[in-house]
Symmetry: C2
Subunit: 337 residues, 2 copies
């Protein structure tokens, strides 16, 4: 006769595992830096072959490969390692969807360091404003962002442009353009779109490179400076505000959005790709967890849709909607003049 | 008619999540430092009550609580937070099984920093020996270890003593005693056991405190110094070598074990609690993953049982066995003179 199942005894496993979770980031960073995944994709499967290809010790290679197998990035059969489908798609440098460069930004000491004094940050409810913080003028961290995170944004940028770019002549303003990919996708999708990217001058160099590479440089202009200070011009059909609002408090965003509202042509609208947790603030996991990253800034947050909708409404927009990009990361707020 | 299921498309989720996994460590560390779990266990469930109790901003508290909910340390119902069974057992400071102090060691910059230059460490197959490394004479990092990790070791120490301490007069040597709990458990279990703890002098202060607290100070003596240099004495019935062998290469361990072998009484044996991955080196996960931590030392490793068995054999031991402590962490090598 089967006994009824015992409730599982508490286990310290999750405490131990979470306090060492930083090692997962470090190990993946090491593998990306050494181009381990490319080495395996090229056909090196034994430790000796992989170690020779990445010019590393066999012991270090063995520890790294076993660790990456344990956390789900490799498959080990006998003494041979191979890539998982995810690793093959995103971590083989020869893959068009290669995302390894993300490590440069996500683990940049300027980004990771935001949460260094975590207890103080939680006590204060954010970081103290600083001269070299994320929002400082021409902070080179955003050049790193523009170069490192572009690969992750290609697909969302294309998806958004396919939905909104249409085929009529339009003028598009891309605020906090970064790599420029969101605006550039509009120019590629619609040959009659004129796109203006706005960001710090140093960051715009990356956007201009990307526009040239996409063959749309002749329809891509720029405005250098702070979105809170520069003149936007006016008459834009679409204004993109990608991943910008999460850096500021609601009042600051409303100030910005009033300026955005005034720069729209009649019938114009805003598209804002964002990390948008559900109203419960604990799902979807990635969007919800993004609020911790933003706690490392003076006033940033991962806003729920109802919070964002209110900011747009207070800034004069008549109607907003939330759109999914699934299975792509992030969601969109679309808000109409 | 249902279509056949599509193979799941590759997702960058695991890359993104792993590169940000360090935030999980940081957030849990912050919660432990602020004693958040104790505050909730005391009956504070709303954000305002929790924030008031931990003397933190409501925004920081909200972000932290939502993040901890998302990664499995809290439960959120409506706007109220409560502990999971694991958090209640191990993270409420009033719990006898409180493990929060582990954060002090596991996230100590001297420990976490071992993997800072990860690509170099992998290339080299370990850290370059350094004057202030983990193995340096009287490194205060081991005092932190002795104080912080003791709570995790109470149960394994008691389990081991119950198996091996018996009731006859015995002499026990505890090499790299640290907190001293493994040896002290023998003294508590067997009133006729005489225990000697060996470690750096600064670390032994912690072991002596613990022996006094356990009421066995009169049967607890110490030998201060390096296990490779000091005289062990002889005639020990049991020699404990807890979590020590993983710091050194096989040849160094064999040198040590020959010295251990010579210090045993006839019929004596060694008990070595260790992280011991299976021969596949990718399971159990915690033991396998421990090799990454050890890669941050000049020559350490998480050895398989067959590797450990060979070291004992080469050092003159006649027979070894692997014993499970499940459900407790770690496994034991027992090796007979």
């Amino acid at each position: 006769m089967a006994s009824s199942p015992q409730p599982q005894a508490p286990s310290p496993e999750i405490v131990f595992d979470t306090l060492q979770a930083y090692q997962r980031s470090v190990a993946l960073r090491g593998a990306i830096d050494l181009d381990l995944f490319t080495a395996i994709a090229e056909g090196n499967h034994s430790l000796s072959a992989i170690a020779a290809r990445i010019k590393a010790s066999e012991k270090g290679t063995r520890v790294l490969c076993d660790y990456l197998t344990t956390i789900g990035f490799l498959v080990k059969k006998g003494a041979e390692y191979s890539l998982t489908p995810d690793s093959a798609a995103f971590l083989d440098r020869r893959s068009p969807a290669y995302l390894g460069s993300m490590a440069n930004f996500l683990m940049d000491p300027r980004v990771a360091g935001m949460l260094e004094n975590i207890a103080d940050v939680i006590r204060h409810g954010g970081a103290l404003p600083s001269e070299d913080g994320a929002l400082a003028r021409e902070n080179p961290m955003w050049v790193e962002f523009a170069r490192s995170m572009a690969p992750l944004m290609h697909m969302p940028a294309q998806s958004i442009a396919r939905i909104f770019a249409g085929s009529k002549p339009i003028r598009v303003l891309d605020i906090s353009a970064g790599h420029g990919l969101f605006g550039i996708a509009f120019a590629k999708q619609n040959p009659r779109a004129l796109v203006t990217g706005l960001d710090w001058a140093n960051v715009l160099e990356v956007a201009k490179e990307n526009a040239a590479q996409a063959g749309v440089a002749d329809r891509y202009s720029t405005i250098a400076g702070s979105a809170f200070e520069v003149d936007f011009g006016s008459g834009y059909d679409i204004i993109l505000v990608p991943n910008f609002l999460h850096h500021f408090d609601a009042a600051t965003n409303e100030t910005l959005l009033r300026k955005v509202h005034a720069a729209l042509a009649p019938g114009g609208f805003v598209v804002a790709p964002e990390f948008i947790p559900n109203e419960d603030r604990i799902s979807p996991a990635r969007d919800a967890m993004f609020s911790m990253q933003m706690l490392g800034t003076p006033a940033g947050d991962a806003y729920t849709y109802s919070e964002l909708e209110k900011m747009f409404r207070n800034a004069g927009f008549t109607r907003s909607e939330l759109r999914e990009l699934a299975p792509l990361p992030q969601r969109l707020v679309v808000s109409y003049q």
